[in-house]
């Protein structure tokens, strides 16, 4: 079997190099041999055991008595009981006097005196002073004294006699041992041995001349001192699991829209934008959609509750549009032949089509001029996988003295190729209330196949002339959402505006 020892941690390598098949491997041995601390020992054991390089042979539990600081002080001063006997040999004293003379806590004097009375060595006389009955010292105390003075700082329980054991227990506590001479602790000793596999690894390590002394982290100190030259670096496992990072990111759909905008500006278009609240005038009337006609019902709109009407409509556009609707005004049209409603035209709605902004732009456009907007629109539709409550429309206009149908076809071809990457382009007659002629462009997309990329046309003179423009205006709109969905690997329009953070964080583009 191939053992890749290069991925072993230095703690493992050094341990493997240290032991042989015959060794009983214990923590103490490794600490002695290699100077590991307990934590490093445990880590090395668990890693090596998991790899099958060492295996557990036995485990034993041991109890230890460890001298505390308080115990150390007692070793110096002597046990309180013995000191008390010594001082009482000079004559009876009250307990507070003893405490004062021996600099002991009252409570300690009390408990020591208790022990003396119990062993019938001292008693309280009639003057309520302590006096000795016998000058012997309690056996316990003798033992304790001897333990304190002769045994080391760490005593393993099995090295004590039974009576020593009971004597030391009186001086020990498991927890809160700071006022006791000894702290009791238990330790489990685990014994391991090197396995055959481990021995293979050991041989491999020796063969590869890996010492485990290789550098781990490169530190600034190593660079400043140059010590990095004095050794080699431990190789890392290049396939080890990585940590997940959550970066700051642009929204992928937003990125797509940004790309479209950049594309359009690169093609010479200037961006427009506008408010979400519009009125019937700009949303429909200015686009020569008759106020009370089926063409107006091409889509339904959301009405604003309050204020329900705009204060006014900009002149001269209002008068010119009104006359155009009623009788054609000077546009060459016969008009729609109805009485224009001034109340209706001020009614406020949420913008239902990007063309509204094209209409606004006509009143301030340069000739020649190319303009576009990627703008949010609202339609009165049931929300489902193919209809959002609100959505982006990409629209624009081209103004020029001599622009015509053939230019419109050229423009559509350019969009089809540049923005959609179309393989083939097909034009069919379309219908929009504000353009005549109207053209739809269908494209063959390399992934999506044939679909309608957009609608377009030449603005009706009833639209342009009424808004003060005397040159032809090409108007176009592109449906980019299908391509955006494909780009993002989605099939539900609602996903474009999902509030789900995880979904957006992990979204990748095709």
């Amino acid at each position: 079997m191939e053992i890749n020892v290069r991925n072993l941690h230095p703690l493992e390598i050094r341990l493997l190099r240290d032991v042989t098949l015959d060794d009983v491997i214990t923590r103490d041995k490794i600490i002695d041999d290699l100077g590991y601390n307990i934590g490093q020992c445990n880590q090395a054991f668990s890693w090596l055991e998991a790899k099958g390089f060492i295996e557990e042979t036995e485990r034993t539990k041991k109890t230890f008595y460890e001298l505390t600081d308080y115990g150390r002080a007692l070793r110096e001063k002597g046990l309180s009981v013995i000191r008390m006997v010594d001082i009482l040999k000079k004559g009876p004293l009250t307990l507070p006097e003893i405490a004062e003379k021996l600099s002991l806590e009252q409570s300690e004097v009390g408990s020591s005196f208790g022990s003396l009375t119990k062993n019938k060595i001292a008693k309280l006389n009639d003057e309520r002073k302590a006096e000795l009955i016998s000058d012997s010292i309690p056996e316990d105390a003798i033992l304790q004294k001897s333990i304190l003075e002769t045994k080391g700082d760490l005593i393993e329980e099995s090295t004590l006699t039974l009576s020593e054991k009971s004597a030391i227990q009186a001086l020990s506590k498991k927890r809160g041992a700071s006022s006791s001479p000894y702290k009791i602790s238990e330790r489990e000793d685990v014994f391991y041995r090197l396995t055959e596999l481990g021995n293979e690894a050991k041989k491999e390590i020796e063969k590869s001349r890996i010492t485990g002394e290789e550098f781990g982290l490169l530190t600034p100190e190593m660079l400043s001192s140059g010590s990095w030259k004095e050794g080699s670096f431990r190789p890392y496992g290049v396939n080890s699991p990585t940590q997940r990072l959550i970066p700051g990111r642009f929204n992928p759909y937003g990125d797509y829209i940004k790309w479209v905008k950049d594309k359009l500006t690169s093609l010479g278009f200037e961006e427009f934008d506008g408010p979400l609240v519009e009125n019937e005038f700009w949303n429909g009337d200015a686009l020569f959609m008759p106020q009370f006609h089926s063409a107006r019902d091409i889509h339904d709109v959301y009405y604003v509750k309050d204020p329900s009407h705009a204060k006014s409509i900009e002149e001269p556009w209002l008068s010119q549009v009104k006359k155009t609707h009623e009788n054609g005004w000077k546009t060459g049209s016969r008009g729609w032949g109805y009485k224009f409603d001034h109340e209706f035209t001020r009614r406020q709605i949420l913008r239902s089509q990007g063309t509204v902004l094209s209409a606004h732009q006509l009143t301030k456009a340069h000739i020649p001029g190319k303009y576009f907007g990627v703008v949010r629109c609202f339609r009165y539709d049931q929300v489902d996988a193919t209809h959002g409550a609100d959505f982006y429309q990409t629209e624009g206009i081209v103004l020029g003295e001599d622009v015509n149908l053939k230019n419109l076809l050229g423009l559509l071809k350019m969009f089809a190729e540049e923005i959609a990457g179309a393989e083939q382009v097909k034009y069919v007659p379309g219908y929009f209330p504000f353009t005549e002629p109207s053209i739809e462009v269908h494209i063959k997309h390399p992934v999506l196949g044939w679909f309608e990329l957009g609608g377009s046309g030449i603005f009706r003179p009833e639209v342009t002339k009424a808004l003060g423009v005397d040159v032809p205006v090409l108007a176009w709109g592109l449906g980019i959402d299908r391509m955006a969905l494909m780009h993002l690997g989605l099939n539900d329009l609602r996903e474009l505006f999902t509030p789900n953070i995880e979904s957006i964080r992990t979204r990748r583009v095709n």
Partner: protein
């Protein structure tokens, strides 16, 4: 868009031939139609032209296709025209004057000679529906009834009658109901009753025997109005307020039925009011006026030179008869079933379709124009770049939502929000007044996403603004939100600080006193240089988090980017005109050096004078004399860093040469020198030369600075910060600050 369905057999019969679906897909566009489906013997067609009701029927589509392919214009000989009425054979419909103002006109025609089968009946009902629903605006302007003419005794009478006293058995029911009861009980009454319900009298149609035909625009009678498979002779009647629409509807339906094989029988309408066609008119009636188009306009619009003959030929394929008296203009006769030639461009479009779109070569527009993003987009991108760099995820949200999300959950008043009066559901009834609820919605649906959450959006928000023409304003806004186990005001303040630093925007903060969206005392308004509020941020109020179902501490903020960018652009322009001269002098001629006071002693000959020994970071110590004995004890100064005007021209103070001056602030207008606050700079290293924020690399003029010159460049403290011309002075983001004379002058 209107959609129709037709039995394939009937369609092929009308079309005159069978065609494959592929052939239909190819030919349909000439009628602006699309094949929407073809299954179980039914062809589904979608019609795109909402101004061509003649195409919303199987017969209409078939006619357009057939004409296009054959170039043969169909003839409809049964039309009357002005001064030439066809024989109506005694069939009359008499409009009573009571209908005027209620539903002004009812006109009709009759047919005979073709037994109706299931497919035909459906096609007829569909044509009727499309005309009334789409073209007739849901029966408001056109309602149509088809009746069994063999049961009718002419003349038919059209009158407005008492809706409570007039009764008949409506189609689909067995009992007699009054017109008002029909509005309440009959499904069609409930659907269309609103059109007539507010009139005192309701329109009513009955024959000379007094038998009911219908109560337009609601429902036919159960007898005369019940048309069934096997019937062959009908009377068709339309009613509505606009006569031209009715005449066109009759024209369309009569052409369709003629194409289907019926004989058309004219009916005379005796109207209740004067019209441009007089008081009596025989229908079907040709009412269209001719239209024309100049050949020069054809070329201008289509970009292609077409001869008059080519135009006429193209129009013929569109079913439009045309002629030209010269090579300058085409005149057309509008087909009986159309009324959509409003302008010469409408003729030109028909020429385009007839000529074939494929015969026009795409050409790129040749005008040169400059592409440009809007300022809002440019600014938005700057902001987004910084936010992403700060580790934030950009989100995009819908702008339409519920009152619960945008108002209730935010614990704010609905007064400033823009509501929709006709919401489709309560989930979408408010335009969002702020980006913040959108971000909180993310929190409510993303509790499973690894924290921290750092999200933002640059998008639009709309709210009321009485000063605007629309009474509302749409702003471009940055909203951000950050949530985790521990999130505090300071986290948000750091974000704002960083953002503003890189956007180069000077701002200040003002505690928010009351905003239910934030924890009181832990939110601030962001003020621009003019002191206007352009944003807000802070710790989200737990009540708001609870409403959203979020259990994670959250900070959030929002900045009106329009206000942030627009206002300051103007201000900065002004400022730069005013400041440039002084700033240039200051940065070139004044050397302010942070120095440490190493030694201090009283001047032997001056009560108010200290002699200070300074470590300026140069090799040699510097001695200056300063008259600040009345204000500071030695120990208050010794060991501190002060700011030395280090190139000030040396001057003698009672025998001691002072090489420089320390900066101190005083109250503005203090003529008696009774106020003085030494400007300490203990957090700036000794030897540092100070500059104003955003100062460009400058080579200092290597000469002494005269005191008058120095004082001609007034430095001031603004809200505790030492400034020159309003710009903070310091180094690497550490500004000189004072505690006492926070809005004073420096000298």
């Amino acid at each position: 868009m209107p959609k129709i369905e037709v039995k394939e057999d009937l369609f092929y019969e009308l079309y005159g031939k069978k065609a494959s679906d592929d052939e239909l897909v190819d030919i349909f566009p000439v009628a602006k139609a699309e094949l929407d489906g073809h299954e179980d013997g039914t062809i589904k067609i979608e019609l795109n032209d909402t101004n061509r009701p003649d195409l919303w029927s199987a017969a209409g589509v078939a006619r357009a296709l057939k004409t296009y392919e054959t170039g043969k214009i169909p003839e409809y000989p049964f039309f009357s025209k002005k001064g030439d009425f066809k024989d109506h054979g005694g069939r009359r419909i008499v409009n009573d004057k009571s209908v005027v103002g209620i539903r002004d006109f009812s006109v009709g025609f009759a047919v005979r000679g073709k037994k109706v089968d299931d497919g035909l009946l459906r096609a007829l009902i569909q044509a009727q529906e499309k005309l009334c629903w789409n073209f007739g605006r849901k029966r408001k302007t056109i309602a149509m009834g088809i009746y069994r003419s063999d049961l009718i005794k002419f003349p038919v009478h059209y009158a407005a009658v008492d809706p409570d006293k007039t009764k008949f058995v409506p189609l689909g029911m067995t009992e007699e109901l009054s017109l008002r009861e029909i509005n309440e009980k009959h499904p069609k009454g409930r659907e269309y009753g609103y059109i007539v319900k507010d009139f005192p009298l309701f329109p009513y149609l009955y024959d000379d025997n007094g038998d009911t035909l219908s109560n337009p625009p609601i429902i036919n009678s159960a007898r005369i109005g019940a048309v069934e498979v096997g019937d062959s002779d009908f009377f068709i009647e339309v009613s509505g307020p606009i006569l031209d629409d009715l005449i066109l509807a009759i024209s369309i339906l009569s052409c369709d039925m003629y194409d289907m094989g019926w004989e058309i029988l004219p009916v005379k309408a005796e109207l209740a009011k004067d019209t441009e066609y007089g008081r009596e008119i025989v229908l079907p009636y040709y009412f269209q006026k001719p239209q024309r188009a100049k050949l020069s306009d054809v070329k201008k619009v289509l970009g292609e030179e077409l001869s008059a003959a080519e135009c006429i030929e193209s129009l013929k394929r569109m079913g439009v008869e045309a002629h030209s008296d010269n090579e300058r203009e085409i005149q057309i006769r509008v087909p009986e079933y159309r009324n959509d030639f409003l302008h010469p461009v409408d003729v030109i479009e028909d020429i385009m379709i007839g000529h074939g779109l494929g015969n026009f070569t795409p050409v790129m527009p040749s005008d040169f124009t400059v592409g440009r993003l809007s300022p809002e987009e440019e600014n938005g991108r700057k902001v987004k770049d910084i936010m992403v760099g700060l580790g934030f995820q950009e989100m995009m949200y819908n702008y339409l939502g519920s009152k619960k999300e945008y108002i209730d959950n935010m614990h704010i008043s609905p007064d400033d929000a823009v509501f929709i009066s006709n919401p489709m559901s309560e989930n979408y009834e408010v335009v969002r007044p702020s980006v913040l609820p959108s971000l909180l919605e993310s929190e409510s649906v993303s509790t499973g996403a690894t924290y921290p959450h750092n999200i933002f959006e640059v998008g639009k928000a709309t709210f009321k603004d009485a000063s605007a023409n629309s009474g509302t304003i749409t702003i471009n806004s940055l909203g951000f939100l950050s949530s985790d186990q521990v999130k505090t005001y300071n986290d948000a303040a750091s974000i704002i600080q960083t953002l503003m630093y890189f956007l180069k925007k000077v701002y200040s903060l003002e505690e928010v006193k009351e905003d239910p969206r934030f924890i009181p005392g832990r939110a601030a308004y962001i003020l621009n240089k003019s002191g206007e509020r352009v944003g807000i941020f802070g710790e989200t109020h737990p009540a708001v988090l609870t409403s959203w179902g979020s259990e994670m501490p959250t900070v959030m903020g929002e900045i009106n980017l329009d206000a942030l960018f627009k206002r300051e652009e103007i201000k900065e322009e002004k400022k730069s005109e005013r400041n440039e001269e002084i700033l240039k002098d200051w940065r070139e001629k004044v050397i302010l050096k942070v120095s440490k006071i190493k030694n201090i002693e009283r001047h032997p000959d001056g009560d108010k004078l200290y002699i200070l020994v300074l470590d300026t970071g140069e090799d040699e110590d510097r001695v200056i004399v300063s008259s600040i004995v009345p204000f500071y004890r030695e120990e208050e100064l010794l060991g501190h860093n002060i700011v030395l005007v280090s190139n000030l021209k040396p001057a003698n103070f009672r025998g001691v040469k002072s090489r420089g001056m320390l900066l101190a602030a005083q109250e503005e207008g203090d003529e008696t020198h009774s106020t003085c606050e030494v400007i300490f700079a203990d957090d700036i290293p000794v030897g540092t030369v100070l500059e104003y924020d955003g100062q460009e690399e400058t080579v200092k003029v290597d000469t002494y600075l005269k005191a008058e010159k120095f004082f001609s460049m007034p430095m001031k403290t603004i809200d505790g910060t030492v400034t020159i011309e309003g710009i903070p002075v310091g180094k690497d983001g550490r500004h000189l600050r004072v505690k006492k004379y926070v809005n004073g002058i420096v000298g």
